[in-house]
């Protein structure tokens, strides 16, 4: 019996040696297909505790991520922004391929927490409130940039980042860049290709480029001649001093 057990262990060792290169190759293929992207390191262990970490290591990381997500929601109801960030960091580390988690984490930090920081009644100094607000914008940006690193094949996070640059940072050049990257995805909604030029129109030095792009869209037909596009055509015509005979769009006269 002992001899048999020794042979059995030897067979398992040989099997291990045979499968090892195949498994290493399969692991590479899994990673290339965006599987197993979670970073289960010691910093995560500190955030989620020993049991959570053990569960995540045992193949139940999605489950642990959901529990933390629900916890983050509870914290949101109590507006505990700092604690929310700790949960969001853990959740996005556990499930880096979940676009929803990156997007919502960025939204909470960039749009909700930033407003709360700016309107903080406990902080009388406006400069400090503005600083805190900007820090939350940056946190939102960080989530989206890391989200894009982990999900370069999904358009949603590019669009979210463009919106953050547009609405919060008021950086229209970067917003135009990220709307353009969103529009490059075949499955992205069609309005993003217009959004990139609306933002480009507000990016200093790129007005001519934006005007020509919007003009091209205008010439494509009625479907593209939407109120915002017409508005920006009118503004750019004036800004670029387009001669009256070359103006393709004449904005209606304001009501008296």
């Amino acid at each position: 019996m002992t001899r048999r057990m020794v042979i059995a262990i030897l067979v398992l060792l040989v099997f291990g040696a045979v499968r090892m290169p195949f498994e290493a190759e399969l692991e590479k293929e899994h990673k290339a297909a965006y599987f197993h992207g979670a970073k289960l390191d010691l910093s995560l262990r500190e955030k989620i505790g020993q049991m959570g970490f053990l569960a995540a290591l045992s193949g139940f990381r999605a489950f642990v991520a959901d529990v933390l997500w629900i916890h983050a929601h509870v914290l949101w109801e109590r507006t505990e922004w700092g604690a929310m960030k700790v949960d969001f960091d853990a959740v996005t580390s556990l499930q880096p391929r979940c676009v929803l988690f990156w997007s919502q984490a960025a939204w909470h930090m960039g749009f909700n927490a930033s407003v709360a920081a700016f309107e903080d009644p406990k902080q009388p100094r406006e400069a400090l409130r503005l600083k805190a607000q900007h820090e939350y914008f940056k946190l939102g940006e960080d989530y989206l940039l890391h989200g894009i690193e982990n999900n370069p094949d999904v358009y949603n996070l590019y669009a979210d980042l463009a919106l953050l640059y547009e609405m919060k940072f008021k950086d229209h050049c970067k917003a135009a860049e990220y709307y353009a990257r969103t529009a490059a995805f075949k499955n992205a909604p069609v309005f993003y290709h217009r959004f990139q030029y609306y933002e480009l129109a507000q990016c200093p030095g790129h007005e001519r480029e934006a005007y020509e792009a919007l003009l091209k869209l205008y010439k494509e037909g009625e479907n593209e001649r939407l109120p915002t596009l017409l508005k920006w055509l009118g503004i750019l015509q004036e800004k670029l001093n387009v001669p009256a005979d070359q103006k393709i769009y004449i904005p209606p006269a304001p009501n008296p």
Partner: protein, 297 residues
Amino acid sequence: MTAAAPIATKHKIFSPARVTAIASNTLLELVRLKVFYFLLLFALLIIGSSFFTSKFTFQEQFQVLKDVSLGAMSIFTWLLGVLATAMLLPKDIEDRTLYTILAKPVPRFEYLLGKFLGVLLLLFVAISLMTGVFLVILYARQQDALANAARLVPAQALQEQLADIRAATFNKNLLPGIVIIYLKSALCAALTLLLSTFASSSIFTIIMSVIVYLIGHIQAIAREAYLASQTTTALTKAFLAIVALLIPDLNSLTLVDDIVVGNAISTVLFVKTASLGLTYIGIYFLVGYFVFSAKEL
């Protein structure tokens, strides 16, 4: 009048009928142990998860529902596979059923195969039932969300919203994900069977199986370190080699976490992953038989 001579039938070396008989009996025994009560727990768990997510967006609700359901499927099938397999041989020895069977012209290979197939059948029935419950609840939640959207969303944005809801519920990769869960639980069952052939008690088998399960999920780290020769000490290298060579890489069969969030699994990748799982099952079973065939009972 002469008595009819008994018809001499040739004993087959391998009989699928005998294996089927043992497998169906094993399944019946396990079913009689009321193992399917866990389904009630499963249903309660996934319905209960809805209460925690009622304030969430529909994407979040579906995400949690899928994560909880597939996570619960993984846990239940793994537990079922390990516990059912760990008690197969000790229970038969204790009940003396093993001696009754092996006293007949039933080879040990057929006995072990029949027992193992019984467990695989049990796992198949269990995962099929859980999948059924999961799909019904997911469909009901989808219909609920669609009805709410039709009621609340303005007409111009309705089609887009309905498409979003449909995309957030079912995706074609869910089924391959569930097949991989099944294979993983079957692998754990095969490993437990192997352990039980030389283990002295069920408790030992279960504990060893749980330990291997935990290490199996981080085996890839040991393999990478071993292959990259990151370490210089012979002792560490030997330890890494033993872990990498003896412990199965269970992480390679843990794809469902990423599938739930929309990761697509190509047919080639699915076939490769499933083949790896099936090879493990085959090898563990054969090695288990090799040990069992010479075991003194």
